[in-house]
Each structure stands twice: as structure tokens, then as C-alpha cells.
């Protein structure tokens, strides 16, 4: 049963729109057979538990329905300003993540070779004991240089607490997170240009331009929801005709990596025609004249931009004029992986365009707002004299001091050019074997370790490289520490525990508590061997006092469980009512009583006059960054010849993205979501495909300088010629992930590991490949 793509009206049939005929062929032949089935909810009323979703980074609020101990349904929580009473397909399919039969159930210790999946079941104590023995040996060998233990976390929740354990308590400087394979250039560009990372007020904007951020397939709350309900004009630039492009008022197809040319030209037109907000510019800009002179002298005319982007010059002029004429224009800064070498300056150009329009610290622009500050739980941090600093920001101009640069780190480890050896890694919810370019190199890095410990819920490709696997419970099986959300309509939200944790899985807090109890004393003795200051204080105060007062008890934070900690923290800072609201409704914000339904289950949260559109804050717009000039980089956004999209006829540029039903590789095994996309399909321009004799569903070999993959093709008119789109999150290599194993191909197998030098971010869209039909 295969339907052809030329079919005009398919609206009343049971067909899927998505990808034309490709998925249809698959659907027809792939009845998924899983022992797990959905459970129909009953006609009985239940008291549902408020929770926060964890299927992606958004953390939307929901209510979980439990019947006979089984979670039967997840529903949206209408109390939460951020998620606007919705749950996406992934949020709804969270049930299948809890009851996934492939879940990590028990602690495991490796008995085979790394990657071959041979493990033996262990008790928690055996696992901790194994880790302790290895760690004591490693840290002893490295003479108490705690930074020999690298640790990473790709999950927003609990991240700071994880850092407290391995950074503050264990003493390692080498923390890595997803920022350098995600959006650090955007955060940095905003911070450095206007002094704060801010938040984009999508709902308040009457004219919005989006470059490449696919907000209707990569949902971000509340942005994706607000885009639909606001009456703004939406302009979308993308090499690929995404759902966001389809829903836009104007779609401007362009070549990959050329968005900066469009932005430069917008600035050129704004300066030439004096469209910018003169009052704002006079009051807030530093080095405005420098920027103006630079843009005009470089002659970034609309005609010039057309030659780079493929967007007609008249269109660029029209959009620019409309943008600056709008009351509350917003150039959406994006929220996704870094594309190319020019990414930092691209994001900066977007910030500058907003600033030129005066769209900073006001409705519909980049707002600073007023987040609710949560008090920190203070801990006693030991000082380790022999712990060395991080090295992954060497050669990076700014970089994130928090999450570092993954590709620079990996490169230095693998090439043995790091100032000291990294011998162990603790990896939590961070699928290193899928999430960064050039998977072979990640494998090499992990193979060099004396100890790899993975904390996760699923037997991912990365878990299969671990010596010890510690099963974490999923988000519905634990209470997490309260979190503060957003700036314009700030709120607190709490992830309450819905059911007891399954199997022998434990929360991160419980895992760290156990680990802390096992490690604290033995590692303290290693320090006592090498650390002269510690030796002095032992002499002076005795062993016990030196240990306690020095802060060496790694489990210090875990004297109380998370529920007790939350109660103490929230009650002390905000009072009992706030705590009760968080327990009963999952949410608290100041104007909850005034929340009102606007229509059909859609609510207004903060009354408009109470929103923090504009706050009293001193800031400057930095048009010129001297530090960049000194480091030999552009101080202002500038085009360079090598940014040009200029490929040989047989060459293709790889770009990535994801389906609406996937969260990177984290949802790869979800049996419900697999129904939508069993494997990924390579988008190739239909005319390119015709020339190469490639038809829908044909397997093609895609080759880069790094490696090659085999993937099925989806020829389509929705992508630029000589550009290939590979949806991320497929090609899973772990045989323990039975729904995902060997389905489709992984983009990161072939993406070259290049990174830009301003923030050390992996540039995902700079790999050129060739391809042929298999």
C-alpha cells in the first residue's frame, strides 16, 4: 500500500501528511509488535499528581493519572504559565518511557569488552565498591589531581546539584554539558552584546523573523504556542521547507550558513534608510558609529545578500522595512545547535538588529524580566591544592566556564595534548556516542579511560561503553528540587513523585548519596597523602575535625531526602502556602488567583500590566567587542569569502534537525513515538535525486571525510539543491535498545568534528559529502 506524492487531496483518508509517500510505505509494512500496550483509562475519578515532564528540555507541567499503581495517562497542567496547558506527543508518550522493557533496571558491571554489551548484574553496594577501588587508584596515581575525573550531564534538571557533587565536593574542574553542542553561541552573543541572556517575548511581538529555528517541529514552550495565538507576521528563513516555514506568512528559502548575509543586509538597509530607532540608539549603544561605518563600507547591499543567500533583493528590502516599521519586531535568536564558523557573529547580528529596532527590554523584544530567585543550599567545599584547572577552553576566546567545549576537550584527550591525563568519566543523561560529531572519536576517548560510569535510564550507546552502569529512575518516579522558570511571567514549579521507582532504579540524589558515603573517606585519605594544607589541618585539628570542617563529606547535601529539602527550602523562603501550591498544583506564581480562561482551555496567566516587559536595569549595547579584535577575530559581524555556499555539482552539504516526535536520541526506543518514525529518511532535493537516479525509499551511501552511512532517501521539493537533511536521533548501535537498534542512520557518524573558536561549539552544518545509490 503505497501512495504517490502527487496525490492532491488526501485530507479525509487515514494517510499521514509527513514526508509524502515515504513514511506511508513504511507504515503499511511495519506493524510494531511490542508486548507493552496502552492501557485504557477507566471511568473512575482519581486524584492526579502534578509533575514536570522530562521528555525534552522544556519541562512542561502535567498531571499524572494513576490507576492500580500504574500510570495510565498524562494530562497537561493548566496552572503553569510556561507550558500553557499543553503536552506534546513526546510528553504524552512519557508513559512508554517509564514502562519501556529495555530500561536499565539494576546496577551493572562490565564483563566483556567496551561496547559489546556484556554486563553482570550487581548490587548497588558492589557497584559503588567497584567505582571506589578504581577511583582511589586513579586519584592516587594522579597525585590527588581531582580533575583527572571528568564529569558531564546533558540534562537541565539536577545539573547544578550534580556539579556540586563532582565539582565542589569531589573537586574536578572538568565539567562538560550540552551547551557546546547546542546553543552557547546564542547565549554568549546575547550576554556580550546586551549584558544578559534575556528571554524572547514571542507573544508580545507583532513581527517576527526566524532563521532556521524550527519552532513547530522542535517545540519550545511557550514560544511555539504563542506563535500560533499571536497575530504577528511570521517570516521564516530556512534551506528546508519545515512545518514552521509552511505556517509562516512568508517563507524565504536560502542556502545553509548564509543567514548572516541576510542579517548584514538588514543592517545595511536600516543604516542606509535610517530605519533604526534613533532615540534608543542614542541612549543605549556603544560604538554605534563604528558599526554603521563598518556595515556601510562593506557594502552589504540587498543585491550582495541575494548573491549569497538566494533570497531576492527586493524581498530583503521589503522585509527589512516592514521589520523596522513594526511596533514590536523581534528577530528570534534561535535555540538549537550551532551551524558554522560564523555562528557567534550571526547570533550577535540578530541581537544587534533587535537593538537597532529598540526591541530590547520592552514588550515583544528581548526582555530581561525578573526571574524568581531561589536560595541556594550552601555546602562546605573542600579545597584541593593538587586539582588542576580545565583545559578545554585553551584557544577559545570566551567559552562557557560552566559547560566548557566538548570537541576541544575530546580532541585534547584523544591526541594526548591535555596538560594531564583524564582517566575517568561520570556521564549522566548525556549520550556522548550519539550527540557529537565524529562518533568514532568519542569511542576512542572513552576507550582511553580507566573508568567510565554512566547514570541513565536507558541502555544507550554510551551506556554500552561504561564499566559501571547505575540505573537512574525516570522523572515520574522521583521528586526533584524546585525550579524557577522564566522571566516575563516567572513561576516556580515542582516535579512531584508520581509512583515508586521501578526495579532497583534510584534518583540521582540517592545515587550520589550512596556514592558519597562510599567515596568520601577513602578519597580523603588520598588527599591526606598529597595535600600539604590538609596534612597541616590534620596535624592541628585531628583527622575527624579536618574531615568534617574541611567539607570532605561528599554526601553532605543528602542528610535529608529531596522532599524534606524542598519543604525546608520553599517554606523558609516563600512560606507554607507556596509550598502547598507546589505540592498540590505543581506550580506557584504570584498572580495565580487571577489566572483566567481566555478561550477553550487556553489561559491568561499574568495580567498584562504585571508582566516584566521592562525592568529598571542599566545596560549598554556593545556593537564592538574589543576582546575579539585582540584575539584576532571580527569585533563586529563580518562576512568572509569562506562562508559562501559554493559547492561542486556532486557535493552536498549536510544539515541536521529532528522530527517533532523525537528528542535527540533520548526518545529513540519509545514504542509509541516509533510508530511515527521507525527510521529516519534523508531529504534530498528532488531534482538532484532525479539526476542521480534516486527514488523514494532507495538506500543511498553518504560519505564524508570522517565516515559513511547508509540511509533511505526521501526526494523532496522542500529542500535546497545540494543540501541533505538528516533527522537526528537514529542509527542507534546499542542492541539493548530493541526498538531503535540499527534503524536508520546517525548524522554524527559522518559530520566532521569542527568547532568555532569563540565559544568552542561544534559546527554541525559544515560537512560536505558525496553520495551514491547503494
Amino acid at each position: 500500500m503505497c501512495y504517490n506524492t502527487h496525490m492532491n487531496i488526501i485530507e479525509t483518508s487515514r494517510r499521514k501528511f509527513l514526508q509524502g509517500s515515504v513514511s506511508l510505505c513504511i507504515y503499511a509494512t511495519s506493524a510494531l509488535s511490542s508486548p507493552w500496550q496502552t492501557t485504557k483509562t477507566s471511568n473512575k475519578k482519581t486524584t492526579d499528581t502534578p509533575y514536570l515532564c522530562n521528555m525534552c528540555r522544556n519541562k512542561c507541567a502535567g498531571y499524572a493519572r494513576v490507576e492500580n499503581g500504574l500510570i495510565t495517562k498524562l494530562n497537561p497542567n493548566h496552572n503553569f504559565p510556561k507550558s500553557r496547558n499543553m503536552l506534546c506527543p513526546k510528553g504524552n508518550a512519557g508513559i512508554q518511557a517509564i514502562y519501556d522493557e529495555d530500561r536499565l533496571k539494576y546496577p551493572l558491571i562490565r564483563i566483556g569488552n567496551r561496547g559489546d554489551g556484556q554486563y553482570k548484574r550487581a548490587t548497588w553496594d558492589e557497584a559503588y565498591e567497584y567505582i571506589k577501588e578504581k577511583l582511589v587508584k586513579i586519584i592516587d596515581e594522579q597525585k590527588d589531581n581531582r580533575s583527572t575525573i571528568a564529569y558531564c550531564n546533558g540534562e537541565g534538571f539536577n545539573k547544578d546539584e550534580y556539579i556540586k557533587f563532582f565539582g565542589s565536593k569531589l573537586g574536578s574542574a572538568n565539567f562538560l554539558d550540552e551547551g557546546s553542542i547546542c546553543l552557547n553561541t546564542k547565549l554568549g552573543a546575547t550576554q556580550l552584546t546586551i549584558g544578559d541572556v534575556g528571554e524572547m517575548d514571542v507573544a508580545g511581538s507583532d513581527y517576527m523573523i526566524i532563521s532556521g529555528a524550527n519552532r513547530y517541529e522542535s517545540l519550545i514552550t511557550p514560544d511555539s504556542v504563542d506563535m500560533i495565538h499571536s497575530k504577528q507576521k511570521l517570516v521564516v528563513l530556512d534551506p528546508r521547507c519545515t512545518v514552521t516555514a509552511i505556517k509562516a506568512d512568508e517563507y524565504l528559502p536560502l542556502y545553509p550558513g548564509t543567514d548572516l548575509a541576510f542579517c548584514l543586509s538588514m543592517m545595511y538597509i536600516a543604516f542606509k534608510e535610517e530605519l533604526y530607532d534613533k532615540k534608543y540608539v542614542n541612549e543605549q549603544f556603544d560604538d554605534f558609529e563604528k558599526l554603521k561605518a563598518h556595515i556601510l563600507s562593506q557594502k552589504y547591499t540587498p543585491e550582495w545578500a541575494e548573491s549569497k543567500t538566494h533570497i531576492p533583493s527586493q524581498k530583503i528590502e521589503k522585509i527589512t522595512r516592514e521589520f523596522f516599521a513594526a511596533s514590536n519586531p523581534l528577530y528570534y535568536l534561535g535555540r538549537r545547535s550551532v551551524w558554522s564558523q560564523n555562528d557567534f557573529q550571526l547570533r550577535r547580528a540578530m541581537v544587534l538588529i533587535n537593538a537597532l529596532a529598540g526591541s530590547v527590554n520592552r514588550k515583544g523584544g528581548i526582555i530581561f524580566g525578573q526571574p524568581i530567585k531561589l536560595n541556594d543550599e550552601e555546602i562546605n567545599e573542600p579545597l584541593y591544592n593538587n586539582a588542576e584547572g580545565r583545559f578545554d577552553l585553551d584557544g577559545i576566546v570566551y567559552g562557557s566556564q560552566k559547560g566548557g567545549s566538548w570537541l576541544n576537550f575530546r580532541e585534547k584527550v584523544v591526541s594526548k595534548t591535555a596538560p594531564y591525563p583524564v582517566k575517568a568519566m561520570f556521564i549522566r543523561k548525556h549520550n556522548l556516542m550519539q550527540n557529537m560529531p565524529n562518533i568514532a572519536k568519542t569511542k576512542k576517548m572513552l576507550e582511553m579511560m580507566d573508568l567510565v560510569v554512566v547514570l541513565d535510564t536507558m541502555p544507550s550507546d554510551t551506556a554500552m561503553m561504561a564499566d559501571v552502569i547505575l540505573p537512574e529512575c525516570t522523572y515520574l518516579e522521583r521528586e526533584d528540587m524546585v525550579v524557577s522558570f522564566n522571566r516575563l511571567e516567572p513561576s516556580l514549579a515542582l516535579r512531584n513523585q508520581v509512583i515508586e521507582s521501578l526495579y532497583e532504579s534510584r534518583s540521582m540524589q540517592d545515587i550520589l548519596k550512596g556514592l558519597g558515603k562510599k567515596l568520601s573517606v577513602p578519597l580523603f585519605h588520598v588527599s591526606a597523602k598529597y595535600d600539604e594544607d590538609l596534612q597541616d589541618s590534620i596535624k592541628e585539628d585531628g583527622l575527624h575535625k579536618a574531615f568534617v570542617e574541611g567539607g570532605y563529606d561528599m554526601a553532605e547535601l543528602y542528610g535529608y531526602n529531596t522532599t524534606q529539602r524542598n519543604k525546608r527550602l520553599i517554606t523558609k523562603q516563600f512560606g507554607k502556602e507556596v509550598y502547598n501550591s507546589l505540592k498540590e498544583k505543581g506550580v506557584w506564581y504570584p498572580y495565580m488567583d487571577e489566572q483566567k480562561e481566555l478561550f477553550n482551555d487556553f489561559y491568561e496567566y499574568y495580567p498584562p500590566e504585571k508582566r516584566f516587559y521592562t525592568i529598571d536595569k542599566k545596560y549598554r549595547v556593545n556593537a564592538y567587542l574589543k576582546k575579539l579584535e585582540k584575539a584576532g577575530f571580527d569585533a563586529m559581524p563580518t562576512w568572509h569569502k569562506y562562508y559562501d555556499f559554493n559547492l561542486h555539482e556532486d557535493e552536498f552539504r549536510v544539515i541536521t534537525g529532528r522530527y517533532v516526535t523525537t528528542t535527540q536520541s533520548a526518545t529513540a526506543n519509545n514504542v509509541m513515538l516509533k510508530d511515527f518514525e521507525k527510521e529516519n529518511y534523508l531529504w534530498i532535493n528532488n531534482n538532484n535525486a532525479k539526476r542521480l537516479g534516486i527514488k523514494t525509499g532507495d538506500s543511498v551511501v553518504v560519505m564524508s571525510s570522517v565516515s559513511s552511512i547508509v540511509i533511505k532517501a526521501n526526494p523532496t521539493n522542500k529542500i535546497a539543491p545540494n543540501v541533505l537533511w538528516i533527522p537526528h536521533g537514529f542509527g542507534i548501535d546499542s542492541q539493548e535498545m530493541t526498538n531503535a537498534y540499527a534503524k536508520g542512520a546517525s548524522d554524527n557518524m559522518i559530520i566532521e568534528d569542527k568547532f568555532e573558536k569563540i565559544y568552542g561549539c561544534a559546527t554541525m552544518h559544515e560537512t560536505n559529502v558525496t553520495l551514491r545509490k547503494l
Binding site: 487531496i9 488526501i10 485530507e11 479525509t12 483518508s13 487515514r14 494517510r15 499521514k16 501528511f17 513504511i26 503499511a28 511495519s30 506493524a31 510494531l32 511490542s34 507493552w36 500496550q37 496502552t38 492501557t39 485504557k40 483509562t41 477507566s42 471511568n43 473512575k44 475519578k45 498524562l74 500553557r84 499543553m86 506534546c88 506527543p89 510528553g91 504524552n92 508518550a93 513547530y216 517545540l219 514552550t221 511555539s224 504556542v225 500560533i228 495565538h229 521547507c241 512545518v243 509552511i246 517563507y251 528559502p253 536560502l254 478561550f599 477553550n600 482551555d601 517533532v660 509509541m672 513515538l673 510508530d675 511515527f676 532535493n685 528532488n686 523532496t716 521539493n717 522542500k718 535546497a720
Partner: protein, 187 residues
Amino acid sequence: MARYGMALDYKNCINCKACEVACKEENGVELGAEKHRIWVGGNNPEGAWPLLDMASASFLPSQCQQCDDAPCQEVCPTHATYYDENGVVRVDADKCILCSYCMNACPYDARYVDERTMTVDKCTFCSDTRLARGETTTACQNTCPTKVRTFGDLDDPESEISELLRTRDHFSLKAHLGTKPKLFYLT
């Protein structure tokens, strides 16, 4: 007693599949890509990149149209397909003999076989789950990020759906067939 209907602000649909998953989880719909009560159809843009005709691209959320004059009910030889007291087209699993007449008769292709219960199943407006518990929304409506659907009693002039149908233009799918759907697409 009510006469339930649904209005769909279909231009707000972003084809995100949230409704489909919520429906499956709520109603215990069998897994498998062909086993679904709701789905989104539509059209790709025509033309060649970069000259795509964006006006030709669309998404159309669809499900059982809850016809007042339902062909599936009419052809059912065992009266397994019936109207409940709220005008919702339902199926009695005990009476269904899998003859598939209803599947052929339905002009909207809204019925599918549940191989566990051996029933030609369909959308029930969550009648035996959410509505039975006294809730006033369907799973698909409730979860929708863009709130495409408005569900309610067509006989109640004060209901949000009645208000919408009074104030907004709308159409029905395949209206010429005379099935009198209770799903209304707002324009």
C-alpha cells in the same frame, strides 16, 4: 443528554501528533502506525525549490466525523454501531463481527480494526473514559498545543462550540454526501 460536536480551528494545526498520542494513551488504542482514531492529513507545497507555492500546503486534522446520518451505522448488520444518548457514534464490541461493512461505508476512512478486541473501532469522543468521569474535554482537545479543537454540546446555545459556530464560518468534510457531520472546520 447532549448532542456532542467538535469545531476545529484547523489552520492552527501544526501536525505535531500530540492529539494522536493522547488519544491512544487515554483510550488504550492498540499500538501500530495504522491503528489510530485521529490523524492529520494535508498537502505538501507544490513547485520547485525555491519557488514553492506555500498556499498549496496545509494540514487537516481528522477523525470520525460523528455524522448525524452515519453510513457506518446504517450498514452495520448486527447493530454493533449505534448512537449513544449524546449522539456519539459508538461500537458495541460484543456485537461486532468484523464484517468490515462500516469500514467500506465510511467516507472518511475513520474506522480501523483493533486486533486485540476484534472490533472495528473508532473515535468515541472519549465517551467511556473522560466523559464518563464527568470531564468536559476530550484527550485530543485537552493536550493540543495550539488548541485546535473545541468540544461541546451543540444543543446548548451557551456552549463555547455553539458560540463559535454562530460567529465563525465553517465547513464540513464531504458535505455533499449528506452525512451531516458533527465536526466543523472553522475558516
